[in-house]
Each structure stands twice: as C-alpha cells, then as structure tokens.
C-alpha cells in the first residue's frame, strides 16, 4: 500500500480505533478475515448468512443496538448430530447445554474442543457477527470489513497458526523448559532475577525513604558535609563487580553447552526463506513448516537461508541462532519428552516476518519413523503409485508456502493471485509481456526475478518471490502447472 494513503487512513483510523477501544475492551470491534476462517467456521458462517438472510435486512437497518446471540438453526436435530458423532465410539461423549447450543448453531461436534479454545467461531443471529468463546470469555466479532479487523483465529488459519498450548505452562516469567540445558538457562535467569529484585528493592526503598524522611522543611538545612566516602564507594563498586563476575562465568558455561552438540546427535538441516522453513533429513526427506524428531535425542540443526537474514528461535529449548545466506550456523537441543513446540523467526525479514512460524513435534521413535516415511512419500498414494499431478500441485501449493502470497480465490496478495491466471497476458515491469503458459510458470518459479509482473495499476510486485530453483523438483513444478490450469476462469479481484 502506498504510504501517503496510509498516513491519511491511519490518522482517521486512530480516531476510530481509539473510540472503539474506549467503548468496550472485551469486544474488540471487528472483523473479517476471510483468509483466516477455517473451512468449518467459514462454512458455518455462510450457512448462517443463508438461513438468516431474511432477518439480516431488518437487522442491518435496525442495527447495532440489538445484541447478537447464538443462532438457532430450526431444522437442525442436535440429538441426531450428536448421535451420528458418537456412533461406533466406545466412550460416547456427553455435551453440556452450552455445547449443545453451539452444535445447534452449526458447529460440528468434533470442533467443540477447538471452539472452547476460541479457534472455531459460533454463528450468531446477526449474519455479520460470530461469537468467539476464548477461554470462557465471549467475544463478539463482526465480520463487517468496515468496522476494523480481527480475524477468527483457527488452527488451520494461514495467518498466525496457533502452535502448541504448552507456553501456558511454566513460571510467571518463562515458558516451561523442555530440556536440561534449558533448565540451566532458567537457573541463571532466576539468579539474575533475584539480583534484580534485591537491588530494585534497595534502590527503590532508599529512594522513597530519603524523599520522605529528608523532605524540605522550614529551618532544616541539608547536611553539606557529606560529599564523599571512599570506603563506602569502594564497597559499592566491588560488590556489583563480584556479582557480575559470577553471572558472566555461569552464563558462559551454559552458553558453551548450548553451542556444543554431542558427537552422536542427529542432524537436521533447515533452510529459511521468505517466509517459511524447509527441513531436510539425512535420508533426503524434506518437510516444510513442520518437523518431527524422536524423543530424548540430541538434535543438531544446521541452518542456512536462501535470501535475507532469519533467526531460528525455539523458546522451549531456550535456543536461538541467526540464519544467514551463504553461511551455515548450528544449534542443538536435546529433544526430551514428547510434545509440540513453537519455532519463531526472530530476525526481521520483511512483510510476513510475523507469519514465519514452524512447528516442532517431539514424539516416540516409532511415531517419528512412521511420520518420516509418510513425509518422504507425500507424492505417493497408499498403493505406492504417484498421485495425480493436480493433487501434487495442490499439496505443493499448501506445503511450499505459495499460499501465503498467492491466493486462489482471486484476491490480491503479496504476489498475484493464481485464480484465472492460466492463459492470461502478463505485463512485466521491464515493459515486455508473455502469455501465462507452461514455460511462463516454470520460469516464474525457478527464476522469478527475470519476469516481474505488474498489477492492474501498473505497479510492479517487486522482488518478493522466493527463488525455488534449488528446492523444487520437476514433478512439483508440473503439479503447480496443473494446479494453476485448474483455476482457469476463476474470477480475479485484483
């Protein structure tokens, strides 16, 4: 977006937003989020829109005054839905009245747990409003784009996928530590925190005490004889020096632990690109955005970047290293007990920096091996045959990070949409043009900067695209061609 336009809209928006915030903290007015709505909640919303179509005209006129409540779908038999859900189950699930009302509004019984966490929205009587029940607190979120934006967060959302819930554990200051080395880091953290508490208490306490006790009073003069006191000054220089020496040494020893992988550690390569991660195993298996490791095993990560700086941050293991183009950096961690952990990019890398997440799954060795086999065979079906090219293309689109920039519903993203792209005349920023055919798609994937497209206003999309030539095998490129072909004729909204 152009910056001038932004300045204007921000100033206007600030006034609106602050007014909105002032009104109601609990209900951050807001909206949309088509991109992030999960399939099921999206379906539920549209169902809501249809069935409530009659009321909606009236609701829009009469307004914001009438609060939205949980929708009731008249012809939905809640008992039948639950019975269908429990069919064949050894332990049929009982639903509370609240949960039954959600099912009655169109939430699938299997999604009730996610709805409790706030990841699945509950349709309301107002087609523009969905209800998010986040940790027992109800948020009413309007999907009216003009009112601001708060997308429904779903586990399948392309935007800020929630990772594992384990960060809610741990202490006030730190998430739960997942390895012994991480616990060493925490011991040092707590030691420094105690130094902080003690010094802050002494300094703050004395400051308040002196300001009260020696406040200015008529006839009382300051004691002008106290100008220095060498023994005192030496004391308060030496005590911090000793504490600093202890902290420095303790920190250094643990740092060496963090940096020195055991010789028998399992190696995983990670390649960072804008904006995602690709993990490679010694066997050649690749896995984007998510990697699994066996439990209680030292894992050494060998990392590099294909474009800008990135940083691999594993908070649960207290581990981090920048990832640089043309260099290899290493970290290691002992995987410890099974669990799911967050991986963040912590070095600013451009537009979707805050979306550059990955997931680490630590699991028992058998499960890990099963996953590895499956991950290695993702282009092959159960019978050991290659999947159809179109399916490979769709999987590639979802796995390789294409979807974070190129939409398939026609909306404009960081890159041009794939909808209706096939056969279109493309204008490049050097003035030339080409028809979107096989060769055009192949070249755009392997050497994107040789032909940068301009948008409907003639503005170049710029050099945003990841260069995939070293990563994408020919089956996947062919798959992408089929996938884009399948979107021919879909309406474009750019």
């Amino acid at each position: 977006m152009k910056f001038q336009a932004f300045l204007l809209t921000t100033l206007l928006g600030l006034a609106g937003a602050s007014a909105g915030l002032a009104q109601d903290d609990a209900a951050p007015a807001a909206p949309t989020a088509a991109e992030s709505a999960a399939a099921e909640s999206a379906a539920a919303e549209s169902a809501a829109a249809e069935s409530a179509a009659a009321e909606s005209a009236a609701a829009e006129d009469s307004a914001p005054a009438a609060p939205a409540t949980i929708r009731v779908v008249d012809d939905l038999d809640v008992d039948a839905v639950i019975a269908a859900f429990n069919e064949g189950s050894d332990a049929p699930r009982q639903f509370t009245d609240e949960e039954r009302s959600w099912i009655g509004a169109g939430v699938a019984p299997g999604d009730i747990d996610k709805a409790h966490q706030g990841y699945v929205a509950i349709p309301s009587t107002d087609p523009n409003v969905v209800i998010i029940n986040r940790n027992g607190k109800e948020l009413r979120v309007t999907s009216n784009a003009d009112a601001g934006r708060v997308p429904v967060i779903t586990p399948d959302s392309s935007h800020m996928m929630p990772f594992a819930p384990e960060v809610d554990n741990g202490s006030f200051w730190m998430a739960e530590a997942a390895s012994e080395t991480a616990k060493d880091v925490d011991r040092m953290f707590n030691f420094i925190m105690w130094i902080n508490y003690i010094f802050a208490a002494i300094i703050g306490g004395l400051m308040v005490l002196f300001c009260v006790k020696y406040r200015r009073r008529p006839g009382v003069r300051a004691d002008q004889t106290i100008t220095h006191n060498t023994p005192l000054e030496i004391t308060w220089s030496i005590i911090p020096t000793i504490l600093c020496a202890i902290m420095f040494w303790g920190g250094y020893v643990t740092f060496l632990d963090l940096r020195t992988p055991p010789p028998d550690s399992m190696k995983v390569n990670a390649t960072a690109y804008r904006w995602g991660w690709n993990f490679q195993y010694p066997s050649g298996v690749e896995s984007p955005q998510e990697f699994h490791v066996p439990a209680n095993t030292p894992i050494e990560m060998v990392m590099t970047s294909t474009d800008t700086l990135h940083s691999f941050h594993l908070p649960a293991y207290r581990s981090k290293s920048d990832v640089l183009p043309n260099r290899y950096t290493k970290i290691w961690f002992n995987s410890g007990e099974p669990g799911t952990y967050r991986v963040y990019c912590t070095e600013y890398c451009g537009k979707d920096h805050s979306n550059m997440y990955a997931k680490l799954v630590v699991e028992p060795r058998e499960d890990y091996e099963a996953w590895l086999t499956k991950a290695g065979n993702w282009m092959v079906n159960e019978n050991g045959e290659m999947k159809p090219l179109l399916e490979i293309g769709e999987l590639t689109y979802n796995r390789r990070g294409c979807k974070s920039c190129h939409s398939i519903d026609g909306t404009k993203g960081t890159g041009p949409t794939f909808a209706g792209l096939w056969g279109l005349e493309r204008q490049f920023d050097d003035g030339t043009s080409a028809v979107a055919d096989e060769q055009y798609i192949n070249q755009s994937i392997r050497d994107p900067y040789s032909q940068v497209v301009v948008d409907a206003n003639g503005v170049s999309y710029g050099k945003q695209m990841t260069i995939y030539s070293p990563m994408l095998p020919v089956e996947q490129i062919n798959g992408m061609i089929e996938f884009i072909k399948s979107l021919e004729g879909v309406a474009r909204k750019d």
């Binding site: 977006m1 100008t227 220095h228």
Partner: protein
C-alpha cells in the same frame, strides 16, 4: 567548616529580568534563521526535536493500537513494518540522539561556562541546518515509498529486497550524523578552551562532564556510521558487493560496522541524561552532589568502554565463541560505572533537603526506570540468557526503559529545570507534577508487561501474535494511552506558561552553577562580566529571597572546604 556571618548593610540583588533579552533583542525571520546565538539555535533545535518526538509518538500509538488484539486491526503487515521502522528511526535519529545535547546543551553549555557562545558559532548553525536537512530527507522518505527495514537497515534486506526509500533515509541519517559530529566537536573545544577563571576540571559541573563524554563519542563513532551508510548506498545504487552475499559481500560485516557506531550511540543517548539528572538531584536536594569525582570519571569511562562492546548485539548472529566471551566480559565492566552513578545519586538524597518539584519528579522517575533498565540489561549481557531473550520483547522493554524511561525522562526533567532560564517563564507546578506522575505510571504499565511476554517468547517486530500474549499487549497499549495523556498535559503546561506564566527569577531552584547567575531569559551576550567559578555544588552559596521569589547570592557566605 565553620561559617562566619559577616554583616553587610544592603545586599545588592542581581538583576532578575531584562527588557532586552536574547528572545526579543532582534526581530524577524532572518534574525532567527541566520542567528549565531547558541540560545536561539538551541530553541530552534528544541522546536524541531519536539515535532519529531510528536511524529515518532504518533507512530508508537499506531503500533500499540494495532497490537491491542491478535489479528490485524487497521493496517496490513507491510504497513505495520513501515510504522515500526519509522517509529524507531525518527525517535533514534531525529529525537533521542540530538535531544539533550543539541537542544538543552546548546542553550545551557555556554551559560554554564559563563561564556558568550560556543567556540564555533557558525559550525553550530551549520549543524542545525544539517539536522533540518536530515529531517527533510526523512519527511521525503515518508512521502515517497516509506521505509520498512527496521531502524537498523540490516543487509541484505535493505540493499536487495526492499522496495522502500532506503537511499533517502540513509542519506538523511548521514546528514544527521554530521550534525551530531559538529555539535560534539563544538562542545569539546568549548569545554577545553572557554572555561571561566576558577573552573578547573574538578570544578566542572557534572552536566559538562557528561557533555564532554558524549562529545568524544559523537566525534569518534559517528564517522563510522557515515562510512557504513555510504557503503550501503553504493551497494544499492552501484551494485558493488559489500554486504549482500549474492554480490559477494557479507551481511555480518554490516552488523559489525553498524553497531560499532550504534552501541556508542546508546551512550550518546544516556550519558547526557545522566548528566542532567546529576544536576537536578543536587539542586533539589540543596546538597552537594555525593562522590563528584566518581560520577565524573564514570562518565568518561562509560564513553571509552562503549567502543569495546558492540559485539554484544551479535551474540546469536554467528559470532565466534571467543568473540562472544570477550564482548560479554567487557559488557559487564560498563555495568559498574552505571551502578556507581545510581548509588551516588541515592547518597546525594541522604540528609538532603528534598523538594519534589517537577524536574525532581522526572529525575527520580529516571532513577527508578534507569535502574530497571540497567538491571534487566544483565540478562542480556549474560550469554546463556541472552540467547533466549535476544530479539524478543524483553529487549524491546529493556531498551525502552533505558531510552524512554532514561533519556526521555531526563530530557523532560532538564526541560522543566531550564525552562525558566530558556523562556523566562514559570510553568504551573501543579499540572507539571500531575503530568510527570501520569507519564511515569503510563510508562511502567506500557513497558513492564513487555518484559514478561518477551521472556515467554514473543518475538519483536511482529505485526501479529497468538492469543496467549493478548493480556500483556492490552496492558501495554493501555499504558501507552496513559503515557500519551501525561505527555499531552506536559505540552499543555509548558505552552500555557509561555502566555500566562509568571516571570521567572534568575535562579528559581537554588542551583549553584553559573547559568543561574544571569537574568532569565539571558541577554544576547549572556554575561556583562565573566563570572568567577566556584564549587558548582556549594548550594549554600545562594539563599531564598522572598522579594524576587528566587535564590540570590547568600550574604557573607564562605565556601566550605572539602
């Protein structure tokens, strides 16, 4: 140690106000635009950096409102990246670095020396115009493609991947750098050559010691920034491979160059703040500063050590283990002089006569916030804990405690302290105090939660976050709004005083430094006769006078020997 009262018949009160002062002795646009008067240049700087602060503050507000809830509220991720970049760049380069030295220092430093002006008045004006040009380049950046590299301009993103106006912005920073160098050079020579009779190095007010340390860093470190940004511009425009690996360069080299300047720059920001606070604490305790020599020496040692610790910004950017060891060790040596200063200020309060006027509230606020900022710095100096906290909100909170809680609060304290001298007007003490307390509360609410979310893993520079960080972000945004209210009240208080404020006496606070001996505001030439310097913290040199509602030289006072 004994004082002998010598009866004097009728003490001659010094002149408190003059009809012709530096503000009104000549009129017209050119009399300001072409002025060589350090006080006028200082005031023009003050207006400029205040506007920059306001602009940077708007960006801050936009950031915090966007982060009030998870998901995107009213901007997209690309816009958010521009907003946090511009917030950082405007605040650092246009406000904090020039803040105290160029605005307050320009007005006060020659007055404190009893001098007529700085050593090179033309260079001083040139430095102001360089600042103005740099600011103009930033405005140009805003209205062309914006800037989304982060204020650090890290390569190769800034040279090869962004399509925003990096060249305009870096050219602007280049000019601002020279503005800073000229100011430093000017102050260095002025302090060396223009001290009044009696002002030996150990009688130099601590504000000047701080300015002296700052000037050394401005002079020696800033050229490195200039060179680095020139190289960056050359890589972007001419395609010479210096930092981008695709062109054969090395991105880590850029980080070394950048932090070789920008770490001293952190102390360019905080040393003047410490210097201001040393003056305020002594004045409002009406007591001799405690441990004068230790404070003075610690300023200079901080200035020198600041050149040796740049690597602690790069503990996780593939720096060798040996280098991290050395940089971590040297970093701790800076903690000691900083701690010493805090203890000395505390000891100055002991058995003082403490008056909680507005400047003192800011100075005490500074002491607390800087203590938190400094103590949390320990987590980042320790190698093992830095690895997990690096580039998270913990770092964001830490440097805001130091930069905003430290430098901004000291700047505001200094602004209120010297306001009567600069403008000749007294502001409303009541609304000044309310503003100070509101800002203090708002600041803590805004930034303390950021420590917690940072240590729990929230990375910095994220346009969006997961729901488990929502509470901390909401507290932070609420605090920002309170801080904003405090600052708005502050602006109102000061601006109001210009139109309805009482006339200020020459010495409203009872300070013993020389700048309070000339009338408020000072005449064009500052002093009729070069004043004689004595101990700058001999507070009983002046005493309260009901008639002028200020302090006048005490009758028959004999300096106490120390």
């Amino acid at each position: 140690m004994t004082q002998v009262d010598i009866p004097v018949e009728s003490p001659v009160r010094p002149v408190q106000h003059l009809d012709k002062n530096f503000i009104n002795h000549s009129k017209g646009f050119l009399s300001w635009a072409l002025t060589l008067d350090h006080k006028r240049i200082g005031l023009m700087y003050l207006v400029g950096i205040s506007l920059s602060f306001f602009l940077g503050g708007l960006f801050a507000l936009a950031i915090r409102l966007e982060l009030f809830s998870p998901g995107m509220q009213f901007m997209d991720a690309a816009t958010y990246n521009q907003v946090f970049t511009l917030h950082g760049a405007v605040m650092v380069f246009l406000f904090i670095i020039p803040g105290i030295p160029a605005a307050l220092g320009n007005v006060v430093l020659p007055l404190m020396l009893g001098a007529k002006d700085v050593a090179f008045p033309r260079l001083n004006l040139c430095s102001y115009y360089l600042w103005l040009s740099g600011a103009a380049f930033f405005i140009w950046t805003l209205f062309s493609n914006g800037l989304d590299t982060g204020w650090t301009f890290y390569t190769p993103y800034s040279t090869s991947y962004t399509d925003t106006s990096v060249i305009q912005a870096t050219a602007g920073v280049f000019m601002l750098g020279f503005s800073s160098i000229f100011t430093g050079l000017n102050f260095l020579v002025t302090i060396h050559k223009m001290r009044p009779p009696g002002m030996t190095w150990h009688k130099l007010p601590l504000f000047l010691w701080g300015m002296y340390g700052t000037a050394i860093m401005q002079l020696l470190a800033t050229p490195v920034l200039g060179i680095t940004l020139l190289l960056l511009i050359m890589e972007t425009t001419l395609g010479i491979g210096i930092f981008d690996p695709q062109k054969g360069g090395d991105p880590v080299l850029y980080q070394h160059f950048f932090w070789f300047y920008s770490h001293p720059a952190v102390y360019i920001m905080i040393l003047p703040a410490m210097a201001v606070v040393s003056e305020i604490i002594a004045a409002f305790s009406r007591k001799h500063i405690f441990g004068y020599r230790m404070i003075a020496y610690s300023s200079v040692s901080i200035a020198l050590l600041s050149f040796l610790v740049w690597g602690h910004h790069m503990f996780v950017s593939s720096e060798s283990t040996l280098a991290t060891l050395i940089f971590s060790a040297i970093t701790f040596t800076i903690a000691i002089p900083s701690a010493i200063k805090v203890f000395n200020w505390l000891a100055t309060l002991y058995k003082g006569s403490v008056q909680l006027d507005t400047p003192m509230l800011y100075a005490l606020g500074f002491m607390w916030l800087f203590t938190i900022g400094g103590l949390t710095g320990l987590f980042l100096a320790v190698l093992s804990t830095d690895v997990v906290l690096h580039d998270t909100y913990f770092v964001v909170a830490h440097f805001h405690y130091v930069m905003v809680g430290g430098t901004l609060f000291a700047f505001l304290g200094g602004l209120h302290y010297w306001w009567p001298k600069m403008t000749g007007k007294m502001y409303s003490e009541t609304s000044g105090r309310i503003a100070a307390v509101t800002a203090f509360i708002g600041f803590n609410l805004a930034f303390f939660p950021q420590f917690i979310m940072g240590s729990r893993g929230m990375p910095r520079r994220y346009a969006d976050y997961t729901a488990d960080f929502e509470l901390y972000h909401r507290l932070s945004t609420t605090g920002t709004l309170i801080l904003g209210v405090g600052l708005a009240l502050l602006a109102y208080t000061l601006l109001r005083s210009l139109f309805g404020g009482k006339k200020a006496p020459a010495n409203p606070w009872g300070s013993a430094t020389i700048e309070w001996e000339c009338p408020s505001p000072p005449p064009h030439h500052n002093f009729d006769h070069p004043p004689l310097a004595t101990d700058p913290y001999d507070m009983e040199r002046v005493e309260w006078d009901e008639e002028v509602q200020g302090y006048v030289p005490a009758v028959g006072h004999r300096p106490t020997a120390h």
